[in-house]
């Protein structure tokens, strides 16, 4: 009897001892694998158009972790969002910089578990482009013809929204799945009759022309997302915080008017959009903070919910997806507090209208 109680006491103590091992300094990963859902022209490992791209182009994240001896492995996927999902499913990715709404939702619907920590871009213009020789003036003229979109990416939903806006459905057309390079080639050879793409460079080269444009409409475009894998976040919360803080810093830098030229040029190196495309597309943006905005505000959440509804409507997912537990704003809030940027960015409501204006900027020099 005594022996048994002693034994039990011992094991209890041992258990206590095991469970109360002091939390050692959090292990650091040796490598962080950051993926972009896309690649430059011809598959080159570059991207553009958002502040996460800047984080890569200007080596911000590499710098952040150099002192800790952590290497950053940058991955680019010509297969875009869907390929990123596959990579994550295979356990080959830890963080995603700028995932589009459709692949993001499809991933979650098929059981991928990640945590949304930032939004990567929002608003932006959308164009409907036809080959140069085409006589079409509206989407109605193209009924029954071939439209191109990269299936499985956010672009597919954008196209569907365009069609919906003008009262059509995807069944009224023949929608072909093509990546960016193939789409440009197809426009040049008249193999497709319409698509969404930035038209300026193509126009300059006489290949295509834009027939319709929708500028900064919150109903047509959706914000991009930065997420981290659930396991990665659970294991290395401090690393995640550092990534987010650094990204917010980059976002702040990216919204400085003085840096506009620099980032436009850097983005053009990826080749998927020409410099002139970026320049013209961003010309109408007087305050860079409208498009370069990392907040997870009402607009972001409402957009995500709307996108989920759309994917269900177009039968692109088969299981329902809930937002619960998906968005994790604590890292962003911490970063904003640290960098004293809580009031810097404008916040938008669920309809996409301005709710709280951003901090007044110093007069432009």
């Amino acid at each position: 009897m005594q022996r048994r109680t002693l034994a039990m006491a011992f094991s209890a103590l041992a258990l206590l001892g095991l469970t109360s091992v002091p939390a050692s300094a959090e292990d650091k990963p040796t490598v962080i694998r950051i993926s972009f859902p896309g690649a430059g022209t011809g598959g080159r490992p570059l991207s553009g158009g958002s502040f996460p791209s800047n984080a890569h182009l200007f080596k911000e994240i590499d710098d952040e972790f150099k002192a800790d001896g952590i290497r950053i492995e940058w991955k680019f996927f010509p297969g875009a969002g869907p390929a990123l999902n596959e990579s994550y499913a295979n356990g080959l990715t830890d963080v995603a910089f700028g995932h589009g709404d459709l692949p993001l939702i499809v991933g979650r619907a098929t059981g991928l578990k990640h945590r949304i920590v930032l939004s990567s871009s929002r608003f932006g213009s959308s164009y409907f482009v036809v080959p140069a020789g085409s006589t079409a003036k509206s989407i109605a003229d193209l009924k029954g013809k071939r439209l191109a979109t990269f299936k499985g990416t956010a672009g597919q939903l954008t196209l569907y929204r365009w069609l919906d806006k003008y009262g059509f459905s995807d069944k009224d057309f023949r929608v072909i799945s093509l990546d960016n390079d193939s789409t440009k080639a197809a426009l040049a050879t008249n193999d497709i009759d319409g698509t969404n793409i930035t038209p300026f460079d193509l126009q300059a080269r006489g290949i295509a022309r834009s027939i319709l444009e929708i500028r900064d409409d919150p109903k047509i475009t959706r914000p991009g997302t930065v997420w981290v894998g659930e396991e990665f976040e659970a294991k290395y919360p401090q690393i995640v915080q550092r990534i987010v803080t650094r990204l917010v810093k980059v976002a702040y830098w990216s919204t400085q008017e003085a840096n506009r030229e620099k980032e436009l040029q850097a983005w053009a190196t990826s080749g998927s959009q020409a410099y002139i495309d970026y320049k013209k597309d961003w010309e109408s943006v007087s305050d860079l903070r409208t498009r370069i905005n990392p907040l997870l505000d009402d607009y972001y959440v409402a957009s995500l919910k709307n996108s989920i509804e759309e994917t269900k409507k177009y039968k692109l997912i088969r299981k329902d997806v809930s937002i619960d537990g998906w968005i994790e704003p604590k890292y962003l809030n911490q970063a904003l507090k640290e960098l004293k940027l809580e009031d810097y960015w404008p916040q938008y409501d669920a309809e996409g209208k301005l709710k709280v204006d951003g901090r007044k900027l110093a007069a432009r020099n």
Partner: protein
């Protein structure tokens, strides 16, 4: 049920070393037509580029080390996948041919799976193994496996009882039986299978480079870059390179096949 498909023989049966000048008539005529159409401006020269441009780009490409690097990568992939597939094919074919049990167990599945067009495997393979080297190599090996296995199977099946009797008289061990009797006896059909496998391997190499395009190296990538840059000349040069390499591989294979089978006495 001879299923080993044929390939084009490399030269007419009559071993006339003298090349019939009429052979050049058609290609020259086509070339002239091509040049005429582009020089006369009757076609869109962005699409149907003049032969002169192609030659220029060809000259420049042949001097570009990146091009040769691409060629090397593609050929290396081809060789690696082919080797793996050929070994597996010979092993599988021998097993199927030598053992009735194996044929009963594996045969039906083998013949049925063969009907699944090769490229249909590629999306699944690439979602498991990614867009990199591994999935391409596996795909190439798979493409080689079937024709080689089939050829080996037929060859081993052709081993007659008399052969086996000889082996028994000499008391061959298992491995001796395999290497000194069965495989040499099956050699002609194995060689046919290997040659066909080589053709399939090259097709698979190019096909996988097109469908699994990534920022890697290879002839397929060069062509894709050409497409991305609207460089039709580069595409044509790339195509010619693909054809040239394919043809040379076939020639080499045919020569090796002839050499290896030389010891076989002609059928009396």
């Amino acid at each position: 049920m001879n299923e080993t498909p044929t390939r084009a023989p490399l030269r007419p049966a009559a071993a006339t070393r003298r090349i019939d000048p009429r052979a050049f008539a058609l290609p020259l005529a086509l070339l002239a037509l091509w040049w005429l159409l582009t020089a006369g401006g009757w076609v869109d020269t962005r699409l149907i580029v003049p032969p002169g441009n192609v030659l220029r780009v060809a000259a420049r490409t042949l001097g570009d080390p990146v091009f040769w690097q691409g060629v090397l990568f593609s050929v290396a992939r081809d060789a690696g996948g082919f080797a793996a597939g050929a070994l597996g094919g010979v092993a599988l074919g021998s097993a199927l041919g030598a053992s009735r049990l194996a044929e009963r167990l594996i045969g039906p599945s083998f013949h049925t799976l063969r009907q699944i067009s090769l490229f249909a495997w590629l999306p699944l393979l690439s979602s498991w193994l990614g867009y990199g080297e591994l999935s391409k190599l596996v795909f190439i090996a798979l493409s080689t496996l079937y024709p080689v296995a089939l050829g080996t199977f037929e060859g081993v099946r052709g081993v007659t009882l008399e052969h086996l009797d000889v082996a028994r008289v000499y008391r061959f061990s298992r491995s001796q039986l395999l290497f000194r009797l069965i495989l040499p006896a099956a050699a002609p059909q194995i060689a046919t299978g290997l040659t066909l496998g080589l053709v399939y391997a090259w097709v698979a190499t190019i096909g996988s480079e097109f469908l699994l395009a990534n920022w890697g190296n290879g002839l397929g990538n060069i062509i894709i870059k050409g497409r991305a840059a609207f460089n039709v000349e580069l595409i044509i040069v790339g195509m010619l390179a693909i054809g040239a390499i394919g043809t040379s591989l076939n020639r080499i294979a045919a020569r090796v096949e002839a050499r290896a089978l030389r010891w076989q006495r002609p059928p009396t």
